[in-house]
């Protein structure tokens, strides 16, 4: 059964990544890592009183559990008249113990489980909140899937570990308590009975390295079969278009068969432990019967001790099993903890200064002062850029792919900090204003419109969560999105499928225009999208653009000739430098790069080599 832990695990987070993609390095870091534990304890510290309470409850509950068979001993002894305590006194003690057992057992488990849940919640939230602040460069270079794996499977591995930890401590105490009581009742009998424990430990020590590869193989076979299934379902239309059903079925059958064999082998490996444990239990009981019987016989021992021994022997294998399982959990938790703290340690490059000011009534100008910037050290993508955008003007950025257009827009919004020089918005260095106020002053429309799951309504008012229905409709009408929205099954309340798959790209673009318009920014940054937009929507988009740009300072990464010609200023970039500036007419007359671009492109600047 333990072998099956891995593949059901996908359900824990609800995502269906196939199995866990452990592509983040080796799991060699499986030792008990004090660094990870110390940092983990940092998350527990706010609740240390609760933790102390939990540990106290564990200790008490364990003591009670160990005492119960002991009272059985006295009860039996007094029943046969060999005890100084009367039966009723012993039973009163028993009643007290079972009440305590109920209460403490409940407290122990629920306090620790709640604590684990709380700490895990805090940890996940800390990661998520941290990811909101880390630099864009980090997010650019990291796949979303990897981060999700950390937020989910790693956090879950840690959760499992935390939940089991307190009860593992309880099990450890229980084992110690049982050993102590057995030895206290009778040293020789105790030692003889406990002699099976090292044997069990030895057996497990041999068994684990033998069984583990089988379990691993079973996990891998299962996720490989599931991956094949998932891929076939995702590509089912292609499968049917190409008549691949028979071939795919045959291939899938091979994988399913491998999985079957691996699962059966893993079951064999885990079931073989069952008789081993039972035989050792039997031997321990046999020892109790013979040696204990001998002692009872000579009057050395009351018969109650023998009964109590029988009770203890039945219990003391459980803690060993759970403890060795907890060891496995710990190994993966340590690796998971490492990866989680890796994320939490990503530095936050961009923070508000303590005395950061709020942008409010400044005239919306944009200025670049001798800016040099790059994403990787030593590889600048912008060289000594100086640029002045008058308030309420539209500036078109033009240039071949990789000329630095997108970097200029990203710096204006302070997604990154410049290497040299300064970017000023409203006459203030962007490093001296709060990021929040910068965000409210500037809106961005990205080339690839991104929509969130939810209604069209909520997507339009994303930047302004308290916008009214009228405002949203007005914004949609202004960018000619109202028509197609109304035709959707539930109008503005239509739920968008996965990231708006039920809309064409042009329609998605219009929604992102509406979103920007509703936010009513003083400065608009727009990355025009032209590819994949059908001609019918294209017309609407061109009209919507005009409305959107009116009355704002705009920085447009322009592809459409129409947009470029209407701009107040055209800035031509090449290899991270401004090579030309001016109006359409001026630049054409100049006969430089712009004129060449214009001549080779017709209609659109989009498809330049």
């Amino acid at each position: 059964m333990s072998a099956m832990r891995g593949d059901g695990g996908g359900g824990h987070g609800g995502g269906f990544g196939v199995g866990r993609h452990h592509d983040f390095g080796d799991d060699a870091l499986t030792r008990f890592d004090t660094g990870v534990v110390r940092r983990l304890f940092g998350f527990v510290r706010p609740y240390r009183r609760i933790l102390a309470g939990a540990l106290l409850a564990v200790a008490l509950a364990t003591a009670v559990q160990v005492s119960i068979p002991l009272t059985v001993r006295y009860a039996v002894d007094s029943a046969v008249g060999h005890s100084e305590y009367p039966l009723n006194t012993v039973l009163a003690g028993f009643v007290l113990l079972i009440v305590l057992n109920g209460v403490l057992g409940y407290l122990q488990e629920s306090i620790s489980a709640r604590l684990a849940q709380r700490v895990i919640f805090d940890l996940r939230r800390a990661m998520f909140a941290h990811l909101q602040d880390v630099s864009m460069s980090f997010l650019d270079q990291t796949q979303v899937g990897r981060l999700m794996a950390r937020l989910q499977s790693d956090v879950n591995a840690l959760q499992e570990f935390m939940e089991n930890s307190v009860s593992a401590i309880g099990d450890f105490f229980l084992l110690l308590g049982i050993i102590a009581v057995l030895l206290w009742m009778d040293l020789r009998l105790g030692l003889l009975t406990l002699s099976v424990l090292p044997v069990l430990v030895l057996v497990r020590a041999v068994w684990i390295p033998w069984a583990r590869p089988k379990f691993r193989r079973a996990r891998e076979a299962s996720s490989s079969a599931n991956a094949a299934l998932a891929e076939n379902i995702n590509g089912i239309r292609t499968v049917q278009e190409n008549r691949r059903e028979a071939v795919n079925f045959d291939r899938y059958r091979v994988r399913a068969r491998e999985n079957l064999d691996a699962q059966i082998a893993s079951s064999q490996a885990s079931q073989i432990m069952v008789p081993a444990v039972d035989i050792l239990t039997g031997v321990a009981m046999g020892i109790v019967v013979i040696v204990g019987g001998d002692k009872v016989l000579t009057g050395e021992l009351g018969v109650g001790v023998m009964v109590a021994y029988i009770f203890y022997v039945q219990r003391f294998f459980d803690p060993i099993r759970t403890l060795s399982m907890q060891y496995t959990t710990m190994q993966s938790a340590m690796a998971a903890g490492h990866r989680i703290f890796d994320v939490l340690d990503v530095p936050v490059a961009i923070r508000d200064k303590p005395a950061a000011i709020t942008l409010k009534d400044q005239e919306p100008s944009i200025e670049f002062r001798q800016v040099t910037f790059g994403y990787r050290p030593g590889q600048p993508v912008l060289h000594d850029i100086s640029l002045w955008v008058e308030p309420y003007q539209t500036v078109a950025l033009v240039g071949p792919t990789g000329s630095g257009k997108t970097s200029i827009t990203a710096l204006t919004h302070r997604f990154y900090d410049v290497w040299q020089g300064a970017v000023l918005v409203g006459g203030v260095d962007v490093r001296d204003v709060t990021q929040d106020s910068l965000g409210h002053t500037i809106s961005m429309v990205l080339q690839e419109p991104f929509l969130f799951s939810g209604t069209i309504f909520d997507n339009i008012r994303y930047g302004v969560p308290d916008a009214s229905r009228e405002d949203v409709v007005a914004a949609a009408k202004a960018v000619s999105a109202h028509g197609f929205i109304e035709r959707m099954p539930a109008g503005y309340d239509t739920l968008l499928g996965q990231r708006g798959r039920n809309l064409s790209i042009g329609q998605r673009q219009l929604l992102s225009f509406a979103r920007a318009l509703l936010a009513d920014p003083k400065i608009l940054i727009l990355d025009e999208a032209t590819a994949n937009i059908d001609s019918f929507t294209e017309r609407d988009i061109q009209q919507a653009l005009k409305k959107l740009l009116k009355g704002r300072t705009s920085l447009v990464i322009a592809h459409r000739l129409a947009t470029i010609r209407d701009a107040d200023l055209i800035v031509v970039l090449d290899h991270g430098r401004i090579v030309e500036q001016g109006s359409h007419g001026q630049l054409l007359a100049k006969g430089g790069l712009y004129a060449r671009l214009h001549a080779s492109s017709h209609g659109s600047f989009d498809e330049l080599p």
Partner: protein
Amino acid sequence: MSATPPQNTNLDLDISKLNLKAMPRVLGRLTRLSFRYPWQWFFALSCAIASAMFNLITPRLLGRAVDQAHHLLIDGHTHPEETRSAFLQLTPALFGEATQQAFQIIIDGHAHSTGPRAALLATALMIVVACALRGTLTGLQGYWGEVVAQRVGYDLRLAFFEKLQRLSFGFHDVNHSGDLISRGMLDLEGVRAFLESGFLRAVVLLLLVSFGAWRLLGTDMNLGLIALSFVPFVAWRATRMGLLLRLSWQRLQQLMSDLTLTMEENLQGVRVVRAFACKNLELAKFDQTAQAALRLANRRITIRMGSMSMMNFAFYTALGLVLWIGGQRVSQGAMTVGTLTEFLTFMTLLQQPIRQVGMIVNSSSRASSAGSRLFEVLDAEPSIQDVPDARDWMPGEGVLRFEAVDFAYDRSLGGRKILSGISFEVSPGKTLGIVGPPGSGKSTLAHLIPRFYDVTGGRITLDGQDIRSMTLDSLRRAVGLVQQEIFLFDVSVHDNVAYAEPWAEEQRVVEAASIAQIHEHVAGLPDGYATRVGERGVALSGGQRQRMSIARGLLAGRAIMVLDDSTAAIDTTTEQRVRSSLRTAVRNRGTIIIAHRLSSLLHADEILVLDEGMIIQRGTHADLLKQVGVYADLWALQSPPVAKTTPTKKAAKNPELEVS
């Protein structure tokens, strides 16, 4: 710490929300599936029964041992030295005596009054043997149980896979792929877990309780009743707990998948989040779901621990009563201390499986919902199948005709007509262009040709034969469909291109790739055609993916090529090259091109303009420009200002080199 007040956090757990009515039917069907392996099943069950029997013997033996020791104590008091020295002589003879006695106990049910130490030794030996047998049988039961469950799981896996492949587009349109994957993974797992342990555990439990009850009640009616009094209570609590945990688990899963979505979208849309300074909104969204999940998780802890401590308490209360009453009887001499031990040990033995009632109920309930979700797919009938006397399409001329075709998706869009009265003909070597606004039915039309859906009116023929009377296999081999979005499998470039013809020679694959203008790029990849693409392979740009798609379609279609907006992401220069090489390659096939870049359609023999599922204009490019209408408007919009003045002339002059 939450920014938003908790809303809609109704954690009311109402068991009646679980569909328990379907449970007997679904579980019965699942159990019948395991009867396909009668021998393995029989072994598992026999081992379960036998191990339960040995499990039941242990308390009896332990009780006997206690009695023997106790009686020895009483009898041996007179000659302690003698008994002691005799006991320590564990001679082979004593072992012989012990073995003999053990046999006698087994055969006659009681021992003759042989040596008391031999009796103890005999009991000890029997305990070891009983435990060893119990362990071995439990292990075997677990093994055979898993063999049956895994085999049934294997059968279901294959049946599920096979069925999904046959179910038509109509089914896949309304069933989200993520949902189907979770059925194939998680639900299958749920069913398997039940078959592996749930069912056998229930059998073992029933056996243990009934044999134990028989034994205890037979020994002492009153004490037996007290000893068993915890069973119904614990069973009831455990059942309730199992159901509540199941229900809250489903709820928790929902919350967790909402949380996943929130986090995933936040990361994918990070530029939007930052552009609109929506960090706080995102954290509030996170908190709302995560806090609800936290509350539910805590609620689950309360349910579980509350029930567990109540069950423990009930058990120990019964144990206490047995001790009290039994103890009194022992002191009165009405009962031996061994019988009391037997009672106590038996109760401990029963405690564990009774608690498992919760697990059994939980797993049955999971298996019931998982099973019904699986059977839903397995029982679904593909709406598009070969008719009984379907014939293969004989490679002939390859003339495709639409005759007054109507189409409506019956389920999803409330029966609205997507296409009405569509008629056209495409002969080999001819090209038909289709243009129209989004939602006008272009892609639907393309999907009718390989019969992904059946027409609701009129008919489609290939070489005069209705496509519904052909075998799907031959029809789909005749049609090469190139979609806007290609699905790349996690295999090599070669296998992706040759997807329709897995055994195509390298040369044909290279040829197709060359026509699609992707050969040069592929040749430059680290391993050429053996390079892995897809999820875990090298990334391809949108245009490269479309060219892969074209290459794949080229290998597939024998009579008709349908290009559904398949060049939109390819830059214009490359598109021209693709088009001209494509024209040569498909010289003897009919071609349908769906596009919104009108320049792609210039050379078409006929162009259809679709709107709301109807043909509103048709003709050649030149014809359509002469008409006042959508087409001419579009052309004006798409053409560069320079070209706008003399579009027709330019088009006529050199359509192949036209750039939009």
